[in-house]
Subunit: 342 residues, 4 copies
Amino acid sequence: MIRVGIVGYGYWGPNLARVAAEIDDCVVAAIADGSRPALARAAKRHPASRLYDDWRDLVKAPDVDAVIIATPVHTHYGIALSALQAGKHVLLEKPMTETAEQAERLIAEAVRRNLTLMVDHTFVYTGEVRKIKEIVSSGQAGEIFYYESTRINLGKFQRDVNVIWDLAVHDLAILDYILGEPAIAVSASGAGHIVGSPENLAHVTVFFAGGTIAHLNVNWLAPVKVRQTYIAGSRQMIVYDDLQTSEKVKVYDRGVTSDASQEDIYQRHVGYRIGDMWSPAIPITEALATELTHFVECVTASKRPITCGVNGLSVVRMLECASLSMGQRGHPIDIQHLRVAS
Amino acid sequence: MIRVGIVGYGYWGPNLARVAAEIDDCVVAAIADGSRPALARAAKRHPASRLYDDWRDLVKAPDVDAVIIATPVHTHYGIALSALQAGKHVLLEKPMTETAEQAERLIAEAVRRNLTLMVDHTFVYTGEVRKIKEIVSSGQAGEIFYYESTRINLGKFQRDVNVIWDLAVHDLAILDYILGEPAIAVSASGAGHIVGSPENLAHVTVFFAGGTIAHLNVNWLAPVKVRQTYIAGSRQMIVYDDLQTSEKVKVYDRGVTSDASQEDIYQRHVGYRIGDMWSPAIPITEALATELTHFVECVTASKRPITCGVNGLSVVRMLECASLSMGQRGHPIDIQHLRVAS
Amino acid sequence: MIRVGIVGYGYWGPNLARVAAEIDDCVVAAIADGSRPALARAAKRHPASRLYDDWRDLVKAPDVDAVIIATPVHTHYGIALSALQAGKHVLLEKPMTETAEQAERLIAEAVRRNLTLMVDHTFVYTGEVRKIKEIVSSGQAGEIFYYESTRINLGKFQRDVNVIWDLAVHDLAILDYILGEPAIAVSASGAGHIVGSPENLAHVTVFFAGGTIAHLNVNWLAPVKVRQTYIAGSRQMIVYDDLQTSEKVKVYDRGVTSDASQEDIYQRHVGYRIGDMWSPAIPITEALATELTHFVECVTASKRPITCGVNGLSVVRMLECASLSMGQRGHPIDIQHLRVAS
Amino acid sequence: MIRVGIVGYGYWGPNLARVAAEIDDCVVAAIADGSRPALARAAKRHPASRLYDDWRDLVKAPDVDAVIIATPVHTHYGIALSALQAGKHVLLEKPMTETAEQAERLIAEAVRRNLTLMVDHTFVYTGEVRKIKEIVSSGQAGEIFYYESTRINLGKFQRDVNVIWDLAVHDLAILDYILGEPAIAVSASGAGHIVGSPENLAHVTVFFAGGTIAHLNVNWLAPVKVRQTYIAGSRQMIVYDDLQTSEKVKVYDRGVTSDASQEDIYQRHVGYRIGDMWSPAIPITEALATELTHFVECVTASKRPITCGVNGLSVVRMLECASLSMGQRGHPIDIQHLRVAS
């Protein structure tokens, strides 16, 4: 039985608490939040959990084995470090930290103490993203040419982070999982339309070592909500539309063929292959339940999580580069420039 | 009665010929194409039109008042210049020319001879784009924040031009018409996935003098066909989906409100305005018929076309800058740098 | 403060309990269910509520003011009658009862004792159906010609009732609310494809006194889920698609015009009016919360509910006739034939 | 080379003429229409065809091998009979005739003279319907439970036939082709909302010998255009949406399973099978070209057409019964009652 403490009972914390309470081998021992109304709501839904108005007390509690942190990103590093130093396993909300350097320090601390450090890249635990990973990894889609994503809606404007840290983070986590290879450069441009708010619209291009190009279109000021991703391989193309109520993933047996035998490339003929479309049945599961069950297993069996600190770091590196590039009107930033000496 | 000669009877020429033949006050006097099978098809459908295998003969024919040019872009300048020098009015397929310099010379030649010079920016003549222009010009949508367009499909790979010149040209023509203000800079990135073919995927960002940002996503290697545009104003937002069979234009009374009275911008509250959606009825018309009727009127009454040479030039300038930027991984290119001395 | 007791903690009961617990002026005093695992789940989520394994005990409890009944339909009459006789207000799950006669007896009992008797016609409390009612009642849509609904999906096959009692009941409740006039006849046909299960596919036509015709297509064995309703008036037509994530209600300014001045009807010209489409913004609310708040208000202020026993009776009458007609291959059944003497 | 004469150059005739002119081994020798403007349009588009203002002259012309009839349905019998008596092969627009008796006489006449008699059931020649036929015939979908079709739009109100003869005829032709078995009974109900016009809304149920039930929802007074068909088999279900621009046919590996081993049917458990969806690639072809090519082949090789007179008769029988039933508020009509003695 893993006894978890949840820090932060604002927007996402209640979901984590609700699901954690329903997981086998897991109990919500404690909840901490600095806001009195938040604590009152926590008391109503989790009468058996101990409540703290200061996370420092929760982190020190001897009957807490693992800490789940769902607070604003600028507080992640401090709370997570304290929790690890107190010998607790940690599950951190995404983005993992404000800087790659902070992420690296947390990883080092967890390794030193042999503790589980996991990042809440929720989409990685959906049936849809897992099915896409399976298709890409099997090679059936061929070489992956590009990943194009549109993730737009009206709201929710954030005060402390721009739209890249809020929305593009999901695609970067998915890319990190599906491609499993390092990004080498990032270019981003964006705009802010509300005085006093960070950029609400951005276009991010990520270049991967294997040749894949990713483009992310994120926007808080869009007329409609869209969650649509196109992944094109040399043999198959995938459409992933997360707002569909069914058939969210469609695989198209489509592409182009090029007559490479022709010596004169101007004479080469580009043909089109239009085959069947196939939409795999994907069991309906709650990603958060899958994820928290995985966290409990990793803690119990000392396994490395699918979305461990290193994956969180990889995403934070891309986010940092994207913000930097956006400040330079799209000037591409090399990822290795940010690596700290190990 | 305007007697037109059509140069080029390949992909688009037959449409121009068919529609021109049905326009009042217009007759298709002649058709020229260097391909024998193309001429045979022209003969079958337009038995009353004279046929030429060399456009030079058509351009010189005394019973041709106006020349419509639907040939590959690299031939536009030569044919159009000859036609103007022979005293013929000219309607040029888009993109107008390969370079801004060529476009400027054609404009000068037409002005000198008092001839009509029009560019076939077809979308400008659709009911949908005209309705959007009306909404934007009336001010009801407020200040235009951005224009975001996705124009993707599988094929048709071109050999001589990249995907920007083939697909983004439509959005640039629409932008030129709707905003009616100059672009100041362009940034573009792209990739080619077929050896020996130009770039088949590109992202183009255009910065306009009035603050509007446009982003165009164009792709010949996409699993599905998409023609979708979002235009966001400070008061209303427009969705234009050209693949819908009805309600192609939807106007959303949506946006954000900012409490500017708060001195501390971090305390300002961003609110969301979610009002009704409205889809104006748009009469079903064939854009090409509207356009050719307009051309005949302009020739007859010596009127300046809605899509005249200057508009064609404006689009070519953006295309040139986009290609230049794409060669420099997105480095933004200032538009005025390309202006030639007048 | 109204103290409610909930009878039945199977599929719908937990939703009623969850929402009732969050309503102001309402407390879930007791929950009854004959199933031990159901009671265990109730205990976990509602630790402060008293639990009964026999509804007879709950109904008699002195600290219960109102009873909410969410049990199989064949038990509704017995439980509701006992509750009314014990002086409790009653909210009954739909369909209200198995027969119109039972419904009439419950109404009489509630009237005699001056108790609130309400039926859980949930859709009547959605923002969408209320907006449609408002449009129809205002007269802006004109005379209502027809109501056509498709309510199909794969599953959930019921054992005790056919698909009409399970799915068409929603449309009948909506029709009762929107039209506010009596149905005069019903014709239905259907088929069962699984041995030992009731009809899983049915087509129901309802004729209303004012001339409106309703047609309901319900099906448990459909490849996809559809929830789509077309309502056509002489001036406007409404499309209500409950599976859309936004713009669920669209109002089309469309119709036909007939040149009635022509004496010879064969010479009369039918014209088409194609005007704008408009989708009203509808606040996102939980129908069940609106409904339970209304129930508490009705109990407290002795108000007549919007979906009172008489509305429940009206729906049960149509259901009875539909089942009768389905057994006679669509022979139309007059509604008044079922009326019992008053 | 087959020389065809086309009778009727109104709505559909121009399409038949255009496509026939492009078919190999086929020439449009003559066109007849009583309307002077129609003949003028025919002259412009088919300058090489002879024109007649009286179909009787065309039917007698010695250089016409086959007559294609695209006139109002009440004229079909007379024109087709004359053509057959003049020794011409006949392709008749759908519905074949006004009555089954007329259809039987035409079939007899064609058989006696060994002439091709074909009916223009266009949908049978689409790639989509052929693919569905292939799936159903192969048995992979299992036993066909039902066919449900919605074919609605605003307009085009007809003066001489009701909506069943105008729209349901398409589904009846598709059913005749796909199932290849006789209908045994038809029930229909409908309503007319425009004084002086026939019924504009109808629901038609057709019972087939093999147990399949078909339901057709047809409507000229609908807010939106819908062309959607669901076909459910015991093993697979098919969705055919003719308004999609791609993936018009989708095959769902879905259904229910019933535990038949349980003796007590009330204890039997209905399970759900939710498998993959698959959308076969269907080559884009023009159905009319496929159909006219088939007609020319049948005439040339004395082959029996896929949609011969017997198929036309089968559809007319269902139409007659549907109209009869609609006049009796849905009273089911047995098909064999209409059979004439052979």
